[in-house]
Symmetry: C2
Subunit: 506 residues, 2 copies
Amino acid sequence: MPLLGLLPRRAWAALLSQLLRPPCASCTGAVRCQSQVAEAVLTSQLKAHQEKPNFIIKIPKGTRDLSPQHMVVREKILDLVISCFKRHGAKGMDTPAFELKETLTEKYGEDSGLMYDLKDQGGELLSLRYDLTVPFARYLAMSKVKKMKRYHVGKVWRRESPSIVQGRYREFCQCDFDIAGQFDPMIPDAECLKIMCEILSGLQLGDFLIKVNDRRIVDGMFAACGVPESKFRAICSSIDKLDKMAWKDVRHEMVAKKGLAPEVADRIGDYVQCHGGVSLVEQMFQDPRLSQNKQALEGLEDLKLLFEYLNLFGIAEKISFDLSLARGLDYYTGVIYEAVLLQTPTQAGEEPLNVGSVAAGGRYDGLVGMFDPKGHKVPCVGLSIGVERIFYIVEQRMKTKGEKVRTTETQVFVATPQKNFLQERLKLITELWDAGIKAEMLYKNNPKLLTQLHYCESTGIPLVVIIGEQELKEGIIKIRSVASREEVAIKRENLVAEIQKRLSES
Amino acid sequence: MPLLGLLPRRAWAALLSQLLRPPCASCTGAVRCQSQVAEAVLTSQLKAHQEKPNFIIKIPKGTRDLSPQHMVVREKILDLVISCFKRHGAKGMDTPAFELKETLTEKYGEDSGLMYDLKDQGGELLSLRYDLTVPFARYLAMSKVKKMKRYHVGKVWRRESPSIVQGRYREFCQCDFDIAGQFDPMIPDAECLKIMCEILSGLQLGDFLIKVNDRRIVDGMFAACGVPESKFRAICSSIDKLDKMAWKDVRHEMVAKKGLAPEVADRIGDYVQCHGGVSLVEQMFQDPRLSQNKQALEGLEDLKLLFEYLNLFGIAEKISFDLSLARGLDYYTGVIYEAVLLQTPTQAGEEPLNVGSVAAGGRYDGLVGMFDPKGHKVPCVGLSIGVERIFYIVEQRMKTKGEKVRTTETQVFVATPQKNFLQERLKLITELWDAGIKAEMLYKNNPKLLTQLHYCESTGIPLVVIIGEQELKEGIIKIRSVASREEVAIKRENLVAEIQKRLSES
């Protein structure tokens, strides 16, 4: 009676009342008749369902299951991203899905209300991780590691109102690459931009642009425009919305909600329209207000050096110095960047995509020190690939093109035209598996040949090996190509070698 | 002043009071002197730390970070496991880390108190997933999929008291393979056992044994011994502890804690000593008490058929019919199995390992129906590889043998013996990266050659390409083998081809 433990409490009562009936004629007496028990379980289950007329299975709000189709696209994209990280010498690592709540608080600025907290079940107060950067900084401080180039692919969780249509979920995957350590200026920073270019080119998402700025230039610009220092991060957070909101609305937020003087907002408005190449960096050195700000000057010096390295990497033309780039997170201290797709991949019949940035990052030299008891700093710079948006773009494209993906990798199907050939099929498939060949068969004693061949066609299996009475008698096996429907007979003992040959050719 | 947003609230007050000092002599007036601000930030940060004398960075209880060393071992093992799942035609899928709490309740029997709940932040009541099986069943019911062979690798969370020394954590990885659908009896079940054998053999963990039983035989045995049906699952849960506890203690739990009559416990005691091959199955058909139980007979019939298929798969000698195997989880309805390592891999100097089972699973035909509004059933059978225990064993072994693993895959290091060669190094490494070669260099303007070569030796990079004034003038590059210290000069334009040749040879 294996289902008993699975029944809801009310169903139990119904079940017990049934079991109190006298035993049926076929009962042994010692043990209650099993069929009677089974019937009672069924009845009580049905009753349980009748008692819950609104029985609905659901998945948590803002989350989704990833089907095999999703997984195939993901695997391909993640493979490309990870192999780029490895090409640049990064090590893998992982941290727990949750951290002590205090580890995560006061790190994210305005967004910290979006954290998932765990219930206090006696013990520590925990929250699900919100990104991979803060756990990395905590790891560096805890392990006293002073230098590390690592990548991290993992899920993070944010309680945002999900706008699922744009591929935004409350649970999503991040792919981060970071370089921690004290090095000569801008060399690791430039490599981060190189990596972003390699990945975005490799994924063939169409033309893209990476906006670059520096937190010191942002803050210097704020100071130069007359923003009170106490409002720096709040105004920064407003500016960060410029990719989703019009300037007019951002200005309104800064003035009406955050109490900025209108003329200060307008001064900012002049700056945030500026974007260009290294020549804009030169131009800003001449800006009468900005050039008087020590921080801004440091930022401009670094950007100048950065562009020199970007030239050597051959990617300078992909990079735009953009004064409207601010980045929302609090922890950035130097160069910041964000990659956007230029040409929305809208083709005939495709919905227009509004995917925002597909990769972003920057320098955060203060974060590790916040976790160190003595405040020892470890300078860091890194990037995060917005893989969820990339998955979404690629899936949309495949949908438009009507492309189908195979969700299995099966190479060979073991079939028979005869009845009572299960034993032979099992022996045959064992040989294939043991030789490392990906093989399937139907879990039926006597499947029809047509059903078997149809299965191969619908799942994209390229080869069928067929065994029947004739073949068994003659010591041969037929190999059939699903695409061409050609069949050849080969000696049974050559089966594995022949299949490996065909697979290596295709 | 990029750190401002990062300061704790009290530090803010300290900072503000500093900022209220009159501007220093070098200040422009319009903007507050940056060095003064920087000083204020520093002071207030120190103050913040002085205010938290017990400042300790911690990671949640029962969890750990996975270092690059851990990750390398994991990647290898997971690759082997996943490629076996794919060899058997499985598709990948994923579900969210958390489910509605009600999805998970009343599925796990005595263990359900160990679930991590999320805090009620307004909205649904959620819990972290406890295994991958219940989410799979929920997925099947929700998507109305009636047939599916899938694998799932993901983290699960259980609030157990962690005994970290044995490699048990509150967050751990599971690797599941399941076959859902109505098929002819025992064919998918036998394949699950085949897969367990392939994986355990492939991992070379030493000799192993897979214990097999059937929930219907367990329940039939309970009925035959006189266990009241209401105690079936509770007694099953006690029997499940036989691999960790002595019979005497399990008997005590059943009698003293679960109110079983002592003579009933002793009758169970006789059965649970029995284990053997297919001959034991035959023997149990003759058992006077068991053979009168319809359920037990069904279970025995199925085991007989199972052994027939296991023979054809060539793995029957690895399988032991074991009446002490019960499995703790409530949802099993048919065949159950658990793999144990026979020869603890204790070698000279190695700690004895108590790793328990390394893979387990069984048939659960009722679980999907519990999620279906109309109770439609989808029969399922599957297995879970205890990868955490396997990681632990492999790591222990490597430690004993003093084996080191490379944590990066870098193939080529770009070095220079000269000062002011950063530009040339950057150009060179770009060429390598763009050709798909894994390459690193030091992030220094003027690193010493010895430092560069030492880096290669300590991180296991096999090749160095060296560029200096001489090489630049002659249009050549030196390639150095780190192991042999041999150097050869090649034409600059042949660099990529030459390196690819060398890498393909090694």
